[in-house]
């Protein structure tokens, strides 16, 4: 069962690294990042509730996680900010439809460093992306322990 997005299946994190390395100005980069946000799986409106909210100082993120029959996780994310949606899509390219072990093994820091977007997931950054990644990893850990 997939959550109707190419992110994490036909669009992989390698694709993202390749594409972003191709651009040399910020305008192209951010046009692409904003475009990526449009590929996010549709987030269920009914689940825009407090328990699914990841707060940031500057923007907020909604996160819903479903466990598939094969043990992989389907990730649903939304945000009120376009660039945060794009960053979430970049995360999903790496973590969506992956097993808990694959999720925990993935080096998010190195990934964001490679695409020169590390500042967006620094712990002090208030956009909620870092907290979202932590929540996904936490969920993966719980699944692994279960």
């Amino acid at each position: 069962m997939s959550n109707e997005t190419s992110l994490g299946s036909s669009t992989t994190h390698e694709d993202i690294v390749d594409t972003l390395s191709f651009f040399d100005d910020w305008e192209e980069r951010y046009t692409y990042i904003i475009e990526l946000g449009k590929a996010l799986p549709p987030y269920p409106e009914a689940l825009k509730i407090e328990s699914h909210l990841v707060r940031g100082c500057q923007s907020q993120v909604w996160l819903h996680i479903e466990v598939n029959d094969d043990g992989t996780l389907s990730l649903y994310v939304d945000s009120d900010a376009l660039i945060v949606r794009g960053l979430a899509a970049i995360v999903l390219a790496a973590l969506n439809q992956k097993t808990p072990q694959q999720i925990l093994d993935f080096d998010m820091q190195a990934y964001f460093q490679a695409i020169d977007l590390l500042k967006h997931i620094s712990p002090t950054r208030g956009n909620g992306v870092q907290s979202m990644v932590e929540r996904i990893r936490h969920e993966a850990q719980k699944r692994l322990a279960a």
């Binding site: 046009t31 500057q58 376009l82």
Partner: protein
């Protein structure tokens, strides 16, 4: 002599930075100001030539450090028109407000009493009062905001009652820039015998503040928002009140005698300065205020007002832009929203162009709730900003609209 912004800029080394290879346009001055070379020099000199613990009187360097720090305290006193016993070193405004909330609050509040704050307060002037109200059984009342971002002070008559013991209000709003009429507020509070605490964090860098003239009971500000270092701030308090209220933190520096049964407190201002103070920070702040007092402050104010007027004019011509807090009594802050865009996206895309602004709720969530908005984009000006900086902001914003 006419105000020369280019000459002023050469005193601030950070302004020469080139984020992403672009000239820095630093418009996040309400978060922190840049530091002039004299401040950097004073801190370096302290660590090179004066470093020692203070108030021990044990040796030569100790005396040098003590003298330098107390000289800085005298500078703060002169900056505020206070006396040196009334100037207490804190970590910053937040620390100072926690001190007052705790020490004044525990001294004067009891069940049923009220603390009056305003809608536009920073969390630092809300949460400490909530805490002390929980402990004492007092409650918080709030001065409402008008649509132009000014306080509805005409409602004070109803809000101030015989139960109001403390009024705690910002001199200027960090999120909107609105300057509040503290003198009028003090006058009304006096009539019912309430104490007035002023959060001056966003005021002192913009215009001269005279605590005697304001006649407030407490006044707090941070070093780093007035061209000084981080980690140092000031609480001014009227001497008789500082004598009357209990200490906040306890330990070294602030005691006179200690036995295992009881302790007595050191004299003012040391009674409120537990532990080794931030000596380098205090000296750096002294240098910053000395520097500021040497400037033609009227000229700085006029320059800042010109920057704000220029920005406001741009804003009115910008399709879909809404100024949040649109009034005539402001420090150099332009807070805004652009229809159909999220502040966070605007901030990120300005940053890519070397333009530093702040986005979000600015630690004023109740204010944002009252305005019905999640946050704003805030451009906050300092005297070293130029009209070209303002133009760069709007050129940057126009460029962004192609994306969003």
């Amino acid at each position: 002599m006419a105000f020369d912004v280019d000459a002023l800029r050469t005193e601030f080394p950070t302004l020469g930075q080139k984020p992403y290879g672009k000239p820095l346009v630093y418009l996040d001055n309400a978060a922190t100001t840049q530091k002039p070379q004299v401040v950097i020099d004073a801190i370096e000199r302290y660590y090179r030539e004066q470093n020692s613990n203070v108030h021990r009187g044990a040796h030569y360097l100790g005396d040098v450090a003590t003298h330098a720090m107390e000289e800085a305290r005298a500078t703060v006193a002169s900056f505020l028109n206070a006396s040196r016993e009334e100037v207490i070193w804190t970590k910053g405004t937040t620390d100072a407000l926690n001190l007052v909330a705790h020490s004044l609050g525990s001294h004067v509040l009891s069940a049923g009493d009220e603390v009056l704050i305003s809608t536009l307060e920073h969390h630092a002037n809300i949460v400490p009062w909530q805490q002390i109200c929980t402990l004492t059984g007092a409650s918080i009342k709030v001065i409402p905001l008008k649509t132009d971002g000014t306080l509805a002070l005409e409602q004070l008559e109803n809000l101030l009652t015989e139960r109001t013991k403390i009024v705690a209000v910002a001199h200027a709003s960090n999120a909107l820039g609105t300057i509040n009429d503290i003198a009028a507020l003090v006058q009304k509070a006096r009539q019912i015998g309430a104490y007035v605490v002023v959060d001056g964090a966003q005021a002192v860098s913009h215009f001269p503040v005279d605590v005697k003239q304001l006649d407030c009971d407490f006044y707090a500000f941070s070093g780093h928002k007035v061209f000084g270092p981080t980690g140092i701030g000031v609480l001014y308090g009227k001497r008789e009140l500082l004598e009357a209220i209990p200490p906040y933190q306890t330990g070294g520096e602030m005691i006179e005698t200690v036995s295992f049964e009881t302790s007595t407190w050191n004299r003012l201002p040391y009674k409120f300065e537990a532990g080794t103070p931030h000596i380098a920070g205090a000296i750096g702040l002294g240098a910053a205020l000395t520097w500021l007092m040497q400037q033609d402050r009227q000229a700085l104010w006029e320059h800042e007002s010109a920057l704000l007027a220029h920005a406001t004019e741009h804003a009115r011509a910008f399709a879909g832009m809404r100024i949040i807090g649109d009034n005539n009594s402001k420090v150099g802050v332009l807070s805004f929203l652009i229809e159909g865009t999220h502040p966070s996206d605007v901030g990120t895309l300005l940053d890519q162009q070397g333009i530093a602004v702040r986005t979000g709720h600015h630690c004023t969530m109740p204010l944002m709730d009252s305005l019905g908005i999640p946050g704003t984009v805030r451009a906050a000006f300092a005297p070293y900003n130029t009209l070209e900086d303002v133009d760069a902001l709007f050129t940057g914003l126009h460029k962004i609209m192609n994306f969003l």
